[in-house]
Symmetry: C2
Subunit: 314 residues, 2 copies
Amino acid sequence: MDINTNITKELKLVDNFIKKDLIKEKTISGLYKYIFNSGGKKIRARLNLISSSANKHKDRYKLASIIELLHTATLVHDDVVDNSPTRRGAKSVNNLWTNSHGVLIGDYIYSKAFILMVEIENMKILEELAAATNDISQGELIQLDAIKNLDISLNKLKKISYFKTGRLFEAAARTGAILAKSNNSYINNMSASAKNLGILFQIRDDLLDYSINLKTGKPSYQDLREGKVTYPFFFAYKNANKKEQKQLRNLLGNKKLNQINASQLISRLDGINKTNELAKKYHQETIKYAKKINKLGIKQEMIELANIAINRDK
Amino acid sequence: MDINTNITKELKLVDNFIKKDLIKEKTISGLYKYIFNSGGKKIRARLNLISSSANKHKDRYKLASIIELLHTATLVHDDVVDNSPTRRGAKSVNNLWTNSHGVLIGDYIYSKAFILMVEIENMKILEELAAATNDISQGELIQLDAIKNLDISLNKLKKISYFKTGRLFEAAARTGAILAKSNNSYINNMSASAKNLGILFQIRDDLLDYSINLKTGKPSYQDLREGKVTYPFFFAYKNANKKEQKQLRNLLGNKKLNQINASQLISRLDGINKTNELAKKYHQETIKYAKKINKLGIKQEMIELANIAINRDK
């Protein structure tokens, strides 16, 4: 059986752990069950399990559950921040209940994750996860202040992608490797590969918002409508002349934008191509560090994840 | 110099710690400074310093800062949940910026507190603070579902007071005592005294909402307007006949309620007296456990806090 099939089996155990051991408080089980039933790819938990598979510790599933809980807490709060009506194809907590529920259930999940973290009794793991959680919130705050900000720099966009997404990928890999009592070289190569993979995921996510949706046949332009400057818009704006810049400014934060005009303008100004180039760069970085990992199964798994990430269309 | 004066001096050091060491990230310093400049009684940090004064550890101010940060994070999220326009006499984060800022800055402060906690490297302290944070969010969730809930039990109201307020008082005392490497008897008596003190604080808070405000000359009835069933309403409703119950139901969640009618009705139905009786009970419990503490200065300090709490009018 290859490592991939094994990890998929193990992810089911993580699911069970969350469902059986965590969803028992009556007061919140309604909210809680709902959130974890809605599925998701669990890429971060998978990454953590891959990383910790180097040397199987009894707390592997607990740690993967923690990573998944932290991610879920950020999603629940994100939906409040973005006022999103849906999440993973189902109604979001803030939509189904209220924003207040979204805030509090997010806090509940965060602190549940911290309780479990403390149980693992590993200071290095605690340190990394506390720092990552703080960086994630910082990334979201920077992004909030980047709304309708046409002067944002490429470096700031990269910082947002790293803090918002790369950081938890990195922490998932690093804590998995620490739990497996690995050597520094393995810890650092896994972390660097995962960090770049996370940024790649975020870039692809930004691109998907500008791509033809297979269901609707149109791009959704959610980020653009919300006024979020992401890579495709950033690169297009850089290449635009005065007149085109004005057209782009009219799209940003425009809930009723013309999708065909937007699509033609941003493509013509190389917004999509340049973002694809950037994605390729992070794909290469992910693979560069993956190749330095000397455990064959894990190296292959990381390369496969990088290839999935650059080709993903949902 | 008595312990009280000393602790007040030490609270200034806690302030400095928060201001100098924590508010350095440029991206968030605007929000951050604002929140910590707005003051507050810092009763929880004080309690923690009292408790840890039994045996002065180098991390005392750090731990007191952590307690204050955790409390501040809950306040910032509370203001989003309650949609409050003000906090500590100044505009709330969600009012000055947006709800989104309130959610994220709350997360930022929480995770900053966790980073500092990990630095103290004491598993028992981590365990207590992670558990307390989780209980606080659970208390807020229970309260949310208690809105306009006329069937709520006295036990549930007590659980809300404990989780929302008593729990962090208890954790402040317990972690202070743990840091001071105290014996179990000191840890448990301090914790029990502080837990009851916190519940007493919450009961007095509920009462203040129904009392004549010295500035406006009128009760503010904020809880009542928001539809929150707290002790004065609960006891009045218990004592009411069918007709009075209907009148009470008309007040709950009524933004334009008649203050004079509300005041007369709830007083006549013993809502205020019964709540005062309950406050006295928790005052006695606080003192009962304080008297078991065999460090004289600390015992006196706890008794003084209990007396301040039951007499406080703001």
